[in-house]
Symmetry: C2
């Protein structure tokens, strides 16, 4: 069970490793929102996304014996970089199963951080099967990207930092908006935030084509996304909520919002122009929801998590300049 | 005279207005530098640069009578936005004399923040004369962009924050690299930093075509830049060091470095790719100096100030993609 203590322990383990990212504010965003919006920029985190938090927490918890054989993970790119970086810091060999069409920056960085990469076809092959076969052959541990208590606790440190800093600022948030793929970040943050602020509303945001969490919450059971679903949010293309994450989301998440690719691109432009932050598509969905008016933000304090910034320059430039066409 | 007390008073006035920007770190930058590099990202400051610090400090110090007539300033864009925003917060009317070819984002934002704009030709007209004539006609106060004690003290809060946070982190900096135009930021930061860390080396960085500070320090007197000098660093195109700033720089600055436009562009690409920060050309010169190996950074703690992020998307995209051509 993930409780505040597990998250606080993860925070202690992460000290001196992950960056304690600040809460930022923007005059322009506050003006658009008609209220106070605190920004948690995990794009500024080491490896360009929050994923190193869970990966590092998970790897430090391995026994020396298990660590010796290395670890394997599958990931579209951010978890890959987190696992590779954490492995490098801890001296644990890492192998990552990644889609062949992952953003080049994510592939390059994973390799540079010391990860061995096995590529697969995102739409034809089963990454889980490839990773599990590899793990069995080599006797190494699997590091899931979200469906594991140590991962959830690690990602929950994002929520813990938000809670502590919002408290210090005297700005208890009425609502916190969190990008949601498999739900590791959302569920961990929900636990941390509601432990400190029981009345804070937890809102998760998904791409409209990957609205498995919205449908699963409505149905009361875990549903899958369509096989042919597509989105520019490569970081949020998970098939279904996790076994471990879904019960937490069911219990704690107050609403699930969806955003279109166009709304995401608009948010990336806003982040460039006014926040001076490079945000990747999947990292921009919470900002997109606020800018698109999908949630009431007037006369209250909201927090948005910008979960990552790993985007190739070609796509970034195209998205930025699309508004002028 | 600017002393630590003047800067601490400015910091008190700025509380709740300017953002206390964090010190960030990047694994990639530390690796390139071979040492620890702390990043002070003033591109994340309100209005996208540090300039609001000095402007707000200066405007709060006006008598009610003087404030009633409004203020006038000249600026290529960042000081313009700082003055306009500070005026908006304090209910003081602001007029800004800006070059007609200033980045569109800077012109648009100044207007949006409530500043009245008077444009002039950067290479043919004297902005100082235009502003002074306007001030005389309307009886309003001039807000210089660097050559004023209240401005220097306000910008010095950047150095104060660096000193306090580096102390808290247990990482006293051996050297701090600061972008230098007229010297308001450099001189204020030098005073604050050396009050706390007397042995910290203060290094200022200029575009190679605007090396007035380097030459002035060498000559022992204020020299001017060539009339036909050009640089992509629009924020650092000042004609000569200030009367108030130069004596401080002479006394406190340990070395002056220069960087080329190419080195600046390289730094902007690094900031996009690894720091996930949007940095404008003039804001990137300190990072450029580190990346180009213009200063020893191995086995020591350095701090770099990224002073602003106001850059048009067309120029940003061109610079980012230049490496792939």
């Amino acid at each position: 069970v993930i409780d505040l203590r597990a998250i606080e322990s993860a925070a202690t383990r992460l000290q001196g490793t992950a960056i304690h990212t600040p809460l930022l504010q923007s005059g322009e965003l506050n003006e658009v929102a008609g209220g106070c919006v605190l920004i948690k920029p995990e794009c500024l985190q080491l490896t360009g996304s929050f994923k190193i938090r869970g990966a590092f927490n998970c790897l430090t918890r391995l026994s020396a014996e298990r660590a010796r054989n290395g670890v394997v993970a599958w990931s579209s790119g951010n978890h890959a970089q987190g696992v590779a970086a954490a492995g490098g810091m801890l001296g644990i060999a890492t192998t990552i199963v990644m889609p062949a069409d992952a953003p080049r920056a994510k592939l390059d960085n994973t390799r540079r951080l010391g990860g061995e990469i096995i590529t697969y076809d995102r739409y034809d092959e089963d990454r889980e099967l490839i990773a599990k076969r590899f793990a069995a052959e080599r006797g190494c541990a699997l590091v899931p990207s979200y469906d594991h208590d140590d991962i959830i606790a690690g990602q929950g440190t994002v929520g813990l930092e938000i809670a502590n800093e919002a408290h210090a600022l005297g700005l208890p948030p009425q609502q916190v908006l969190i990008p949601c793929g498999g739900g590791g970040l959302s569920s961990g943050c929900a636990v941390a935030l509601q432990s400190k602020f029981p009345n804070t509303s937890i809102v998760v945001v998904e791409p409209v084509a990957f609205d498995d969490t919205a449908r699963s919450v409505a149905a009361g059971k875990r549903l899958r996304n369509a096989e042919d679903a597509r989105s520019i949010c490569d970081a949020l293309q998970t098939p279904t909520p996790g076994e471990r994450t879904f019960p937490i989301i069911q219990k704690r998440v107050n609403s699930v919002l969806t955003v279109t690719d166009g709304e995401v691109m608009n948010a990336m432009r806003f982040a460039f122009q006014y926040l001076k932050l490079v945000v990747e598509p999947g990292g921009a969905v919470a900002l997109a929801a606020v800018l698109a008016g999908k949630i009431e933000t007037t006369h209250r304090t909201s927090v948005i998590v910008l979960s990552g910034g790993n985007v190739d320059i070609e796509m970034f430039a195209d998205i930025q300049q699309a508004q002028f066409r």
